[in-house]
């Protein structure tokens, strides 16, 4: 599967849940490509903007769409990577801010080899 196919596959599923892909394809396409890179690396589509721990069980929270997407889109209009956004964000009605990391520090530390 390539990024374009992944896009076509996920778009209707996620739109039905109220999540849109970032309309800026210079974000969306590389992000989808890197989800596929991580699928090769780890066996699952782990968030490209975070360092994975490396086992599905421990990285379940950052397998895309991550569990932080809901609160991030609710608060900032976009997820941590800005792959998934809401309509207002795409229409420029919400300021495009840097979304802070919501993954618990102990998980991040473990991914970094500090846990």
């Amino acid at each position: 599967m390539d990024a374009k196919q992944l896009y076509e596959k996920l778009k209707p599923i996620q739109e039905a849940k109220g999540y849109l892909f970032n309309a800026d394809m210079s974000y969306t396409m590389p992000l989808l490509e890197n989800l596929l890179v991580n699928k090769e690396r780890y066996g699952y589509m782990s968030c490209p903007c975070r360092l994975a721990i490396g086992t599905f069980e421990e990285d379940r929270d950052i397998v895309c769409p991550c569990v932080y997407r809901d609160p991030d889109v609710a608060e900032y209009g976009a997820c941590f990577c800005a792959l998934y956004v809401n309509k207002e964000w795409n229409e420029g009605k919400i300021e495009h801010k840097t979304v802070p990391e919501r993954r618990p520090a102990e998980k991040v530390m473990k991914a970094m080899g500090l846990g």
């Binding site: 992000l31 490209p48 800005a82 991040v108 500090l114």
Partner: protein, 83 residues
């Protein structure tokens, strides 16, 4: 002379890519470490450096002069470069 900007990044991270593109388009010299591409001691050393600058351990973490920037915000980076 060391590069003006140090960037700790992930090779798969879009905000890291955007930050690098911004630096390149402004002809700013930078030194990039892809933490996900390192292993063993090298990775540990890089992680320790990131942690020192950004306890949240997120990417990109950039050091511009003495200032630490977390995430890619064009205006913020522009201001730090101009300082």
């Amino acid at each position: 002379m060391p590069a003006k900007v140090k960037i700790y990044a992930l090779s798969t991270c879009i905000h890291c890519k955007k930050a690098k593109e911004y630096l390149e388009s402004n002809n700013v010299e930078y030194d990039c470490t892809y933490v996900d591409m390192l292993a063993g001691e090298e990775r540990q050393q890089a992680v320790d450096e990131v942690k020192k600058h950004n306890p949240a351990l997120s990417f990109p973490t950039m050091v511009v002069g003495g200032k630490v920037l977390v995430g890619f915000n064009k205006e913020e980076l522009q201001a730090a470069l101009g300082a």
